[in-house]
Symmetry: C2
Subunit: 245 residues, 2 copies
Amino acid sequence: MPRYLIRKLEQVALLSPEDRRLIEELAHRRTFRLAAGEELAAEGDRPAAPRLFLEGWACRSKSFADGRRQIVGLLLPGDFFDLNLDLLQAMDHSVAAVTPVLLAEIRRDALEGLAERRPALARALAWDTLVQASIQREWTLNVGRRTALERVAHLLCEIFRRLEAVGLTEGAACELPLNQTELADATGLSVVHVNRVLRRLRIAGLLRLRGRQMELPDLPALNRLALFSPGYLHLARPKPEASIR
Amino acid sequence: MPRYLIRKLEQVALLSPEDRRLIEELAHRRTFRLAAGEELAAEGDRPAAPRLFLEGWACRSKSFADGRRQIVGLLLPGDFFDLNLDLLQAMDHSVAAVTPVLLAEIRRDALEGLAERRPALARALAWDTLVQASIQREWTLNVGRRTALERVAHLLCEIFRRLEAVGLTEGAACELPLNQTELADATGLSVVHVNRVLRRLRIAGLLRLRGRQMELPDLPALNRLALFSPGYLHLARPKPEASIR
DNA sequence: CGCCTGCTTGAAGCGGTTCAATCGGGGTGG
DNA sequence: CCACCCCGATTGAACCGCTTCAAGCAGGCG
């Protein structure tokens, strides 16, 4: 079942059949479902065991008492929430399902000794953690220095590329289960303005929306507009020769 | 020498004398200095070995071709740059010294097997990584949803609290080697506006600047103004009883 | 001395917010 | 089957927080 995680990791690491089997075993023990809108964890909670997203979208968010809210990250199929987070005393953010979600609980002891037993797999998991951190930096840049148009476009580019990495795109189309309020909270904009920006993207022929699907008919142009350079996702597979050193 | 790191880790973990010795050994092998303004790494570079900041400040930043720049994080004494980052192919951001800096290079092999040999220390290092991620989320919130006044105030509160954790504050005062351009790039504002915000903070009696030192005469008021809740720094020491479970 | 870098202040402009109203579609209960 | 409702999308208009442009100023250094 954890095919999305496996696909993602295989973009950058050569996993042995044994590694793949281990991932599958890791994710099979206990799975559970959540409905759209349900919270996996709230700010202040004691963190639970790490989990793997098998299906569905969720988001991390932080809020103020006056209602201002920032979505600080998206959790897509194949993403972890959150390797090691249970070392902390309390959650510093909330996590809520955006769509119905299927999760696998990962027992901490299953990860122990992994570095010795399956070094390639352990490195792949460490890689994933680093990529999450890199994405978080890019989001800081996004809300800090991009214009509204660039911000929204960048978010769409990132979503598309991340879904592509796990095989969840079809041609130029993919899911977009976020409503405009959520897009606003993810980009630090107001709902009204997100709406206007989406209109501009539609008119420019860079975006088509049909229900919860989006299509990006001219991805190169959208990437340029968004100042999107995919390097921060670190998805390039290392050249085979690179392993000889 | 790595007393700042040790102080920070001891806020949250009980390190044995052996753990402390290991940290010291880790950081003694090769140290080197950089002048203010020098780059440790540039976007696109191949990441080098992990390093520990023994003295001085640095910042991580990302830039666009048109000159827009966002500082996405601060590296203070006792911080790592960057455990495991060398797993990636290329740097997704730059790191530059803000003040003269003293660094220790950490050899990757020194970290291997640490989880088995010194589990408490390994957990403390994992904790540090998680805290860095949490800070990055808070920065996303900061530039995304706080007003200019709140943003600058929040940055000052965070700096003070982080320096306090490593013993680098004196009463209500601490270093602030960032100039207004750097404060602007860290908060996603313009230099001009940062200047006006600092004036407001000064007039409100919440901030005094003398050269590269700052004083926060009314920290509770500043914390309130900034909507600063220090939980995201995860500095609370676990209660001794908590270890019995 | 004169220059350069960083700080400071004023004034005008604009990108994005806020307030307000309308619209449309899907679900629900009478 | 339809009336109603509710949530999300949409659009207009006024406003404002922050940026931009422009100038002056202070202090440190060659």
